[in-house]
């Protein structure tokens, strides 16, 4: 197929604006997926994605399209995640495209994330094709949405396509506009090979599979290739396209999107953003890669049973192959033994990683309370990063603590503006700006500590605005703050995994909430267990778990001792799911208690 007949595009939309439904319609209309195998959210293949109704992982798919004028085209769609935690996936996918459908909900209008993603696409030089979706809704206001597209994002929306992906309206027009408006891929098939790895997944049989966009030249199955960043050379064992599902082809040429398998065992040999060139060549030019994303939220992952440590490491490595934004390094906790400090892009990202480890890799793990990355200034002026509370030195060794801040943009209907401002203030936000987008909707801007944001800001915003607000944020560096480290002691022993950092004004309140929650979660033991929260040496909260009063199942019919023993063994097995710390058995939920404290307070 000639390059002139290839179009590479992605869909940019806010969560719930109908991106996955629109993708489904495109697949159907082009006959890529026949109606028998069609199911909703076709491209979301992860069990978690379908369950939660979100897209986590970018998935490319190749569609054959015959234009009404009789020309055959290849359309490569790269489906991208919508949640702000995964915006790095979006940015990578954009680099493999020449254009993007900018989808806006006709009833909701432009949302915070639509803006952020559209800006990113514009920055990369992509052609934007505006689509106003969900025009079938009774509350649809397409003209309003059109005006917002022009006034907020600044695209020419006079010929924005009016569509209803649900009913299939406007979809043929979208296909035509992709062909008409999105530029043909540049690059030359006869030039030396240059291919960009824009994503990768791990396959148990074939190793790392790189998703590539061929920028110049050809990539043939069986040819020798070189990864520029690592210098590693190997054979391209298999190349193919997504039809959907991987289908092998003989070669990929400039302009095409496909995949490459070369028995690569670890992600370090072929990272996302690297350029693939011909083997033996050293004078090629690397394509612009990606900024390496930096995790901002950290937490510890520990196996429930210490012996499972190698299994957890294995699982993390495999997960990283599918999600290069995850970082991890070994760490030791006096309470939990050997585990890993893991870095994530946000709380949802962390939550998803935890669930995938449990489900896909079958690892029982304990996750400690998440925290952000801190900068600590020593009296000597030396600055270092703290990834966990135990990195904090004694108070005397701290000159200043700095925490990461974000600039938060919230789009909100004017009736909720007071509540949202209150929420931002409660979260130590500093007001920046407020402007009316329309008489009914405004944009609020705050600078706010990331630590306050990650816990439950999103949930609280959704509930106080009945889901009508949307947000986006970007990091704006570190600022000094009055923070303290609160230690939690169980049975007089400080449990490092329970320590947390918080603003000094919130220490007592948070300490109390944590202790109360732990008291609920830690089952009665054979002795009284005190639970305390302390700042430095000073205990600020104390509660006791009363000792077990009765636990005796005495019935034992004559001689039926075996059954009794089996019962005891079963009980003991159940307790193994708990983490044994000193003499105290602590259930896994306790380690996540902090996550839910904010929510419980509302109930």
């Amino acid at each position: 197929m000639k390059r002139e007949h290839i179009r590479n595009f992605c869909i940019i939309a806010h969560v719930d604006h109908g991106k996955s439904t629109l993708a489904d319609r495109l697949l159907e209309l082009t006959g890529t997926v026949d109606s028998r195998t069609m199911r909703a959210q076709y491209l979301d293949t992860l069990e978690l994605e379908r369950e939660r109704g979100i897209t986590i992982k970018s998935v490319p798919v190749r569609m054959n399209y015959k234009s009404p004028d009789g020309t055959d085209y290849i359309l490569n769609l790269i489906d991208t995640p919508g949640h702000v935690d995964f915006s790095y996936e979006v940015s990578r996918s954009l680099a493999a495209c020449e254009g993007a459908l900018l989808v806006v909900d006709a009833a909701q209008g432009v949302e915070a994330q639509t803006v952020a993603n559209a800006y990113m696409a514009a920055e990369q030089g992509l052609e934007l094709v505006p689509v106003i979706n969900k025009i079938d809704l009774p509350s649809a206001q397409p003209e309003e949405a059109r005006r917002e597209l022009e006034e907020i994002i600044g695209v020419d929306a006079h010929d924005a396509i009016l569509a209803s992906a649900k009913e299939g309206r406007g979809v043929p027009e979208i296909l035509e506009r992709i062909v008409r408006d999105i530029p043909t891929p540049k690059g030359h098939p006869e030039a030396p090979l240059q291919a960009l790895i824009f994503d990768s997944i791990y396959d148990n049989y074939r190793g790392v599979i790189c998703y590539v966009r061929i920028v110049n030249g050809r990539l043939k199955a069986g040819q020798s290739i070189r990864f520029m960043a690592t210098g590693r050379e190997c054979l391209a064992e298999e190349v193919g396209v997504f039809k959907p599902g991987m289908t092998t082809v003989q070669e990929l040429e400039a302009g095409e999107v496909g995949y490459l398998a070369a028995s690569i065992k670890t992600i370090h040999e072929a990272h996302v953003g690297d350029t693939v060139i011909e083997g033996g060549k050293t004078d090629s030019v690397a394509l612009p890669g990606y900024k390496k994303v930096k995790p901002v939220v950290f937490c510890g992952f520990y196996p429930v049973v210490n012996e499972d440590y190698p299994q957890l490491r294995d699982a993390l490595e495999k997960l990283q192959l599918n999600d290069s934004a995850i970082q991890f390094e070994p760490e030791t906790s006096s309470a939990l033994g050997f585990g890993f400090r893991c870095g994530f892009l946000g709380l949802l990202h962390m939550d998803i990683a935890r669930e995938r480890l449990t489900r896909e890799f079958d690892v029982d793990l304990v996750a400690t309370a998440p925290n952000v990355v801190y900068q600590i200034v020593r009296p000597s002026g030396e600055v270092f990063e703290a990834h966990r509370p135990s990195d904090f030195p004694d108070v005397g060794q701290i000159e200043e603590i700095r925490e990461p801040y974000i600039r938060l943009t919230v789009f909100v209907p004017s009736e909720f503006v007071g509540k949202v401002m209150q929420l931002c203030q409660d979260k130590r936000g500093i007001f920046q700006a407020m402007d009316y987008i329309t008489p009914e909707r405004l944009r609020l801007s705050y600078v706010l500590p990331l630590a306050e944001f990650i816990v439950d800001f999103h949930d609280k915003l959704k509930s106080t605005t009945r889901g009508y607000a949307s947000l986006d944020y970007e990091q704006v560096g570190f600022r000094a703050a009055e923070l303290v480290k609160v230690d939690v002691l169980v049975n007089q022993e400080p449990i490092d995994a329970f320590s947390f950092i918080c603003h000094k004004d919130a220490a007592f309140h948070m300490g109390q909430a944590v202790v109360r929650k732990l008291k609920e979660l830690i089952p009665r033991q054979l002795f009284e267990v005190p639970i305390q929260a302390a700042i430095g040496k000073k205990v600020v909260v104390r509660q006791n778990v009363k000792p077990l009063r009765k636990d005796v199942l005495a019935k034992c019919y004559g001689g039926d001792i075996t059954r009794k023993r089996k019962l005891l063994e079963k009980q003991k097995e159940g307790k193994k799911k708990m983490k044994q710390i000193g003499r105290v058995s602590i259930p896994q939920e306790a380690f996540l208690a902090y996550l839910n404290i904010g929510k419980d307070e509302e109930d």
Partner: protein, 319 residues
């Protein structure tokens, strides 16, 4: 084994409703047992009876043979509790049965259930008061339901909920001169059930009849549960299931079983049976627990009343 005719120290006829047999059939059974077994002097022979089907005729036959103790499945004297349990007998029948057994001079044993919906401390007190008036041996059980059965939703969910009842039984029966000689059993005047104790001491027990459990020198077995199946097999082959414990498992089980009783673990003999290493590991586990859970005297470690109440949690550490 029967061939050697070892002397029988204790015999327990139960695990069902032996009073299903009428007095005449009982006469035959007694004859068979007398003929087939040889009893040591002072052998303890007990029989289980259901207040509903117990007749004076039974008592007469039993009295004329070796029966020392009659164990009655009382469960409760409270009409509402009995109704809830779906028991056939009413409280009156239970009282009559107790009275007849006592008049005939049997040792009387009864069991009571707690944790029945609607039961409160007052009802429980009345139950204990009534039974302890007639019986020299009282067993208390908590009503339990298998998880997932409809009953499980209805009755108290956790074992700790039974605390007040169990605690009260310990206190009350002690007032009435009973000694808690086993985790679920209380006896007055030395009327403890020696047959039960032989289970807890890993003594040899011969299983007779379908679904009976036996234990011979480390081999635990169970007879075929089905009567026809049992009858079609003969002698030792009647066992449907058996297990032989490893020495380690046997030591742990011996410790758990010994702790069921007020005599607890006698360290010297334990060490002699199971060796220094196994003894020490068990000793260490117990030594790490709060002291008030145990009574330590004369080279023995046994549960204190408080220890009995959390026995499960402690056994779990030993299993």
């Amino acid at each position: 084994m029967l061939g050697k005719r070892p002397a029988i120290d204790t015999l327990y006829i139960g695990g069902g409703t032996p009073t299903c047999l009428d007095p005449k059939q009982w006469g035959t059974l007694c004859g068979l047992l007398e003929e087939g077994l040889s009893f040591s002097r002072g052998a303890e022979v007990s029989v289980e009876a259901n207040p509903d089907s117990l007749q004076d005729g039974h008592l007469a036959v039993w009295k004329s043979w070796r029966i020392l103790r009659v164990s009655l499945g009382i469960q409760s004297f409270s009409p509402s509790a009995l109704r809830w349990l779906g028991r056939l007998h009413d409280a009156r029948k239970a009282l009559d049965a107790l009275e007849s057994c006592r008049q005939k001079g049997f040792w009387v044993s009864g069991d009571l259930l707690f944790g029945i919906p609607g039961q409160d401390l007052a009802i429980w007190h009345k139950d204990l008061q009534t039974l302890s008036h007639y019986a020299g041996h009282v067993s208390t059980y908590q009503l339990t339901a298998e998880p997932g059965t409809p009953l499980a939703d209805e009755i108290v969910p956790t074992q700790s909920e039974g605390y007040p009842f169990y605690r009260f039984a310990q206190w009350y029966l002690h007032q009435k001169g009973f000694v808690q000689y086993e985790v679920a059993s209380f006896a007055r005047g030395g009327q403890w059930c020696r047959h039960n104790l032989s289970y807890w001491r890993q003594g040899n027990v011969l299983a007779l009849g379908p679904s009976a459990w036996g234990y011979v020198d480390g081999l635990r077995y169970r007879n075929n549960c089905d009567l026809d199946g049992y009858l079609s097999q003969k002698g030792a082959t009647a066992s449907r299931w058996s297990e032989r414990l490893s020495d380690d498992d046997r030591a742990r089980e011996a410790a758990i079983l010994a702790l069921r009783t007020r005599w607890g673990i006698r360290w010297r003999s334990f060490r002699r049976h199971f060796g220094e290493k196994r003894t020490r590991s068990i000793h260490e586990i117990l030594a790490g627990l709060p002291r008030d859970l145990f009574l330590r005297r004369q080279g023995c470690t046994a549960f204190s009343p408080k220890g009995f109440r959390v026995a499960n949690a402690i056994w779990e550490l030993l299993v």
